[in-house]
């Protein structure tokens, strides 16, 4: 992974190649979608479904504002020592006898071992008092002195009225995110930018807030600085583990977007309107998922769901089999909506072995039976209509093959419509069948994404060829596009493919996107 960036990557910046201008002229007399936001393929026809989280920049902006003055420590000489302590701590405090069960996941790794140290992405969460809260690998107990050192670093820099953001040394990056009352630290061996890594830490922060609310977190630490938060998070570690896994694999988290189950718009409209009809006073969002794809989302007028919140819901549902039996009723904080309070979510599958999962988000924790009734009404309505059959068929093949697009040498792509916050992507082709290969491809996309969204030198387009594939990334105000071609492809071919692909997506858009989202 590390090597890819350096290895003869023929990158070009905007201006050297002319896709923007060329396309503009071609568009004049073609039905190809606009490059302007709101007219791109997949743009919603009425209102957007999500909070206008335009882009990645919106997402990280908050963090940057909070940071204010930064102290970027970039001197391997001095910091190398600190870092060794961080990543190679040898002396381990004796295991504290904690009664918190950590047996449930296989993380009893020896934290002094080489394998532990060589993990690509470490994530640690600690309290401001330096108490361990979460560690991706190894038990928190074994790491408490390491986390103490991290906290010491944060406080040391803070004492000078600065904020520590990252340390770069020795092929390794340490990124800090202080989100009072929590501190998150990532130790990475990747070439992703600090900004991307910060985004990942933010996700972890939101994951924890979604379980407890920020109000409760603040309350706890105000009264007891030394509180061991693992008591309250016990049994939820796997949610954070899974979220980290998704961050490496799920294009939606990279693109700040959500993907839809491909479904004929006539069928989707029936499903949506059936869901719309099953409303109730306390109901804010009705979300129908098929695995990791959105089927439809109906929301209360004027209430928007943020894609981060939706990803947290995806993660919750996808990580747990506990909703398989009966109907779940659980408090959930949607931190992008409101960090202060809990919603209550009614979570159930439409049929016992089905992938279709319905989530009804209510403001009233006493309203379980009303929600249950809403689900029943939705099901009754749906059962009478042929659209349900179409939906079940669609769930069986939730993706499409890239061959349908008809562009030779095109292996895979990600296309995000910015105004709708939705993206589409074909299934992985045969060359990317293994998990490692898929993660490698995702790594390449992440790298392209980093370049396009570079904090000081953002690019509009980027082309790179390597021995294994050629890649093109392109961003306009309307969409973001990442294409992966076989190594036989040429730059010219890649550029001409963009137009062809956009046309294809336009043609298929009412199947691949939710164009007319509904409200109650």
């Amino acid at each position: 992974m590390d090597g890819v960036a350096q290895r003869g990557a023929a990158s070009w910046e905007n201006g050297t190649l002319a896709p923007v201008d060329r396309l503009r002229t071609e568009r004049a007399d073609s039905p190809t979608p606009g490059l302007v936001e709101g007219t791109e393929p997949g743009a919603g026809q009425k209102s957007a479904m999500f909070i206008h989280a335009q882009s990645f920049e919106d997402l990280t902006a908050a963090a940057e504002q909070e940071v204010g003055r930064e102290a970027e420590l970039d001197q391997p000489g001095e910091c190398g020592e600190d870092l060794k302590v961080l990543v190679g701590e040898q002396a381990i405090e004796e295991q504290h006898n904690s009664d918190i069960a950590s047996e449930s996941r296989p993380k009893e790794e020896d934290v002094s071992s080489e394998t532990w140290r060589s993990h690509r992405k470490h994530v640690f969460v600690l309290s401001e008092a330096g108490k361990p809260i979460y560690s991706r690998y190894g038990t928190e107990e074994a790491l408490s002195s390491t986390m103490g050192v991290m906290m010491a670093l944060v406080s040391f820099v803070e004492a000078e009225k600065n904020i520590i953001r990252s340390i770069h040394a020795d092929g390794c990056k340490v990124v800090f995110l202080a989100k009072s009352p929590l501190v998150l630290v990532g130790v990475y061996r990747t070439c992703q930018s600090d900004k991307e890594l910060l985004r990942e830490l933010q996700y972890i922060y939101y994951q924890i807030v979604s379980l407890l609310t920020l109000t409760q977190l603040n309350h706890i630490f105000k009264h007891k600085q030394n509180y061991d938060l693992r008591r309250l998070l016990a049994g939820s570690e796997y949610l954070t583990d899974n979220l980290l896994h998704r961050l490496d694999r799920d294009p939606g988290l990279l693109l700040s977007a959500v993907t839809c189950l491909p479904l004929a718009s006539s069928a989707r409209d029936v499903v949506s309107s059936s869901l719309q009809a099953a409303k109730s006073k306390s109901l804010v969002f009705s979300i129908l998922l098929a695995g990791d794809c959105l089927v439809t989302l109906v929301r209360k007028k004027d209430q928007f769901l943020h894609h981060i919140d939706l990803h947290l819901v995806f993660n919750l549902v996808g990580s747990s089999s506990s909703f398989r039996e009966g109907e779940g009723w659980t408090p959930i904080c949607l931190p992008k909506f409101n960090t202060a309070g809990f919603f209550h979510a009614h979570i159930s599958y439409l049929e016992p072995a089905s992938k279709l999962c319905l989530i009804l988000v209510s403001t009233d924790r006493e309203d379980f039976f009303n929600m249950s009734d809403c689900k029943q009404r939705f099901l009754e309505r749906l059962n009478k209509r042929s659209a349900y059959q179409a939906l079940k068929e669609a769930v069986k093949c939730p993706s499409y093959s890239v061959e349908q697009v008809g562009i030779p040498e095109l292996r895979h792509f990600l296309y995000k419509s910015k105004s709708s916050g939705l993206y589409t992507s074909p299934e992985f082709p045969a060359v990317y069948q293994s998990d490692e290969e898929q993660e490698r491809l995702m790594g390449l996309y992440q790298d392209l994404h980093s370049h396009l969204h570079h904090p000081t030198r953002p690019l509009r387009s980027f082309y790179r060829c390597s021995e294994t594939e050629n890649l093109l990334a392109w961003v306009t105000s309307g969409f973001e596009l990442y294409l992966c071609f076989s190594p036989l492809g040429t730059k010219a071919l890649a550029v001409s493919a963009v137009n062809k692909l956009l046309k294809w997506i336009r043609k298929e858009e009412d199947r691949l996107f939710i164009l007319s989202p509904l409200t109650y």
Partner: protein
């Protein structure tokens, strides 16, 4: 409300991983799922009809999560419950402490809720007696003290599970009968009221 006519609300309480979900799983689906333990998130509801004599009573079972995270929220799950199955793990003494906590909580907040003290994972202590951390008689004494029924169960073998829920339903049935006659007529407790109850039940 067609699908959700519930006669009696039953709540499962107890420390995390004592086996509440497994108990419900065994009772409702007659199976024991092996594989990695999955904590319940929030709570799960399932309605289960059960035959008591001539009648069918639908239990609305709330399987709550044992994690402390949900403790503040637990009232919404046990409020108005007619029966609480308070579980502890025979191989984990701290889970018995937690069971005591739940009993206190119920006694304070839900005086009409009948308590069933339920030991879980009996199969483990049958296999290896040294694993037992809660003496049968200690638990039995505690149960008598609080006026609760006491069961030792195993979701793995199914031992005593049906009996537990059957008992819950029967107790409900006989007290419901008393409640109803007392409420509806104010007198005639213990009189021959079967036919009356039957029709009343069907009008719900």
């Amino acid at each position: 409300m067609s699908a959700m006519r519930v006669d009696a609300k039953v709540v499962m309480l107890g420390k995390e991983s004592v086996g509440k979900t497994s108990l419900v799983e065994r009772y409702v689906h007659h199976r024991f799922l092996v594989g990695p333990y999955q904590n319940t998130i929030g709570a799960a509801f399932v309605a289960k009809p059960i035959q008591v004599g001539e009648k069918v009573i639908t239990l609305g079972i709330w399987d709550t999560a044992g994690s402390e995270r949900y403790e503040a929220m637990s009232r919404i799950y046990y409020r108005g419950a007619r029966a609480a199955i308070v579980c502890y793990d025979l191989t984990d003494s701290s889970s018995f402490q937690r069971a005591r906590f739940w009993v206190m909580e119920l006694q304070n907040c839900e005086e009409h809720c009948k308590i069933y003290l339920c030991a879980t994972k009996n199969d483990l202590v049958e296999g290896d007696r040294s694993l037992r951390q809660i003496d049968y008689h200690d638990a039995q004494d505690f149960a008598e003290e609080i006026g609760a029924q006491h069961f030792e169960t195993s979701s793995k073998t199914g031992n005593n599970v049906d009996e537990l829920f059957q008992k819950v339903a029967e107790d409900y049935n006989s007290t419901a009968f008393q409640y109803m006659t007392a409420e509806e007529t104010g007198v005639d407790l213990g009189q021959k009221k079967d036919s009356y109850f039957y029709s009343c039940c069907h009008n719900n």
